[in-house]
Symmetry: C2
Subunit: 463 residues, 2 copies
């Protein structure tokens, strides 16, 4: 099939249905109205507006969301603004019949789901560029920038790109994903003029990649200089000092590049259909056979905002990984999972045990401390001390060889870098190399099963 | 005990007995006489002389040896000289009732044992320094240099040093050892004035170490510059361009430094008693338990001169070691053994098998060949391909995980660097990780048992 035919079909997948449109419009209008009512007459609030993909009409089927922004005067102190948006947000979601949830990005906001529409009630300051006070102050300018430039066709192109990114699992700026935001997708479409053009371009990308729509800089080199160490640099049209792609991890960027290469070589509808793997405990048991997976399982109490929890999980995962490598294991891969309550860090190792004997490297013979090493090990080593070149070595027996025991003891001795809030939880975590030692409830959780399946098979959806 | 008391006792261990002296003198004289007779009247032969430790009276108890040198005129072609020394040497040893053996260093010589005295019959050219033609031409000058400077006391000091080096297993310039030669030991004593002074100095050595007895160079830096990359530099008094210690390996040098440090800290008679370990097959079986030793066993036909065979064994050992490391094993240590017929290369590994699964690293996603990697592995990998940062990875199952099988197949595919002469032998070698698979005869050989014991325990004698 030619790529144009594929894209025509894909459009039918990504375009919202008429019914969805009606629901979203009605729900967004209702939310806007309620928030406006709650905010009216309050000093310091200067406006309430609809932002995000609903305002730009770039949302995709089955992903209805509406962002309601409350605009504060710069004179309102940060604390007061946060208090107000939480209070109004909670009340508004409740009035609409939803269950409000307190979220946290740079500052708190409130989320709720009504008629399948995710509603976020967010605060920002009404300021003129570049006098930003908070991270969300740019959003109304982003909305205006995109709306002024998007045709109906381009909006469809954005939808194709978002769906494509979703199936490479590279869509979403939240910490859990560290992928492409909606605004970033829109800018890519504006920069290239269409979905196909964006993907063809991305298939040839080599970092650092530079996109400067408004020509804020004199040259590519100037941009690279200004955003050192960043792989994908998309200069924010409304703020020359900001890289819209700053939160995109190299892994997500690479996933997009790879998918683009594959699509360029052979376009297919698969890239617009995020197949979820079908799995079962039996399948998982089969996949895990002969492999060495170490699980760290614990629960977090209270309600940690998702971005915070995910940040801490990722940091802890990294610390554990480093500790295992220091112990002598090869860590093939690691990933984390949470339902915001149960947390599991999974790591695939080359082996679940270390060899019984360990080679210890001493100082060179000519160093002053060489005798200390010799005298320490002469009775304790299984073999040695011996010399190889100038260097002293000894072979000693390990008291403990099991990964789970070694890691537990490293954690106890405070030698593993853990995120502060998870510290006590991880210290008491269940650490095991056997699936059967995980709690039954967790093993039956379809979301955890899906995660574990993907961890064990770990292959892009579109392949 | 004070070090002087120790040394007094050690002297009784190292000094030849009156009986030994008588035997050596008589045997050396006889050899000299027979070689002179055989050489007399032959054109091109200008002298026959006694060289080495017998001529310098620096030999130690239980190590009687006499080097008979046949001096050729520089006009004699190399080939003719080699032919003559082999012919005369063979005949002389036979006439004395010995079994002549053809040896090979830089050029061929003949060895035989008579009355427990090792007799070497060697050729050299009579030349004036520095017009050396062959490596042995310097020897008569070495003998003269040392004889002119050695007192009776210093000769005893040389004996102490030689015995000390023997018990650190650092004595002997042959390829098997790559240690300190007799001449080098004598120069060290001349440089420091005695055994104790030499050892005290060596205990503080840090490479590069420079000794320039005749002040052939203007400064230490000049010597280091002239002999770059060499750890121990002892400028030959009779040839400023030669480092007498060139053949000393870093390992042997380090062993001498370490033993000197230990002796300096606590002098002991242990350093003059090379205890051979008592062992048995039972002891070996106990020592090897839970360890992963890989044996490569083969026989060499014909008579390969020891230095040549040892050179090839060491090179093969190194090639095998590298191949195993490339395969993913950690090689803790390796050593070779031969009785000049049976050869065994032993290697201690972290494990005798590799993990069932293997992490394969692909190219970064943005490279042109990234799709080749993805398409190659998408159906074959157990997990993946996935991205970590820009890099592609895949986890694949290993068909073979056993060290012996993997090494055998690497050797068959010509991927292991082997010494040329051993190539066919190693291809057909027995490769095993079980002691029981070695030939019975070998397992009962006391010299092999001793070697294996030392390999498994690998600790200096004096500790």
């Amino acid at each position: 099939m030619k790529h144009q035919d594929i894209l025509d079909r894909a459009l039918r997948i990504v375009r919202p249905t008429a019914r969805e449109r009606k629901i979203l419009e009605a729900t967004a209008e209702k939310a806007l109205q309620i928030v406006s009512e709650l905010a009216s007459g309050l000093p310091g609030i200067v406006d309430v507006s609809l932002e995000g993909s609903a305002a730009k009409d770039t949302w995709i089927r089955e992903r209805m969301e509406a962002d309601v922004f409350i605009h504060f005067d710069p004179s309102v102190p940060r604390e007061a603004m946060e208090r107000e948006v939480v209070r109004i947000g909670m009340e508004a979601i409740r009035r609409m019949g939803g269950e409000p949830m307190l979220m946290y990005a740079e500052h708190p906001y409130v989320e709720g789901t009504i008629n399948n529409v995710t509603i976020d009630i967010v605060a920002c300051y009404r300021v003129k560029p570049p006098n930003w006070i908070s991270a969300t102050d740019r959003t109304p300018y982003h909305t205006r920038y995109v709306r002024e430039r998007m045709t109906r066709e381009l909006r469809d192109q954005v939808r194709l790109l978002k769906k494509f990114l979703l199936s490479c699992e590279a869509y979403g700026a939240e910490i859990k994903v560290r992928g492409f935001s909606g605004y970033l997708s829109e800018l890519l479409i504006l920069a290239h003029g269409g979905f196909y053009e964006t993907v063809m371009s991305a298939s040839k990308w080599r970092p650092p990649i530079v996109i400067d729509l408004e020509v804020h800089y004199g040259s590519r080199d100037e941009v690279v200089e200004a955003f050192q160490g960043q792989s994908l640099i998309v200069v924010d049209p409304v703020d020359r000092r900001r890289n819209v792609a700053a939160a995109v991890s190299d892994t997500r960027l690479a996933e997009f590049i790879l998918a683009s290469k594959l699509f360029a070589q052979k376009p297919s509808l698969k890239f617009f259909r995020a197949r979820e793997p079908r799995t079962s405990l039996g399948t998982l048991r089969r996949l895990i056979r002969k492999r060495n997976i170490l699980f760290i399982e614990f629960r977090v109490g209270g309600r940690i905002p998702p971005d915070v929890l995910w940040g801490e999980l990722r940091r802890t995962e990294k610390g554990v990984r480093k500790a295992l490598e220091r112990l002598g294991f090869q860590v093939y891969r690691s990933d984390s999972w949470t339902n915001l309550r149960d947390c599991v860090i999974s790591l695939e190792l080359d082996s679940s045990t270390l060899p019984s004997y360990e080679l210890r490297r001493g100082p060179p013979a000519y160093m002053d401390n060489s005798l200390d090493f010799v005298l320490k090990w002469v009775r304790k080593g299984v073999s040695g001390p011996w010399l190889d070149g100038f260097r002293l070595y000894v072979l000693s027996e390990r008291r403990e060889t099991r990964a789970e025991k070694l890691l537990r003891s490293e954690i106890r001795m405070g030698r593993v870098s853990l995120a502060k809030d998870l510290h006590d939880k991880v210290k008491k975590a269940r650490i095991t190399t056997s699936l059967n030692n995980l709690p039954r409830k967790l093993l039956r959780d379809p979301d955890f099963q899906k995660h574990l399946h993907r961890f064990l098979q770990h292959r892009p959806n579109y392949l």
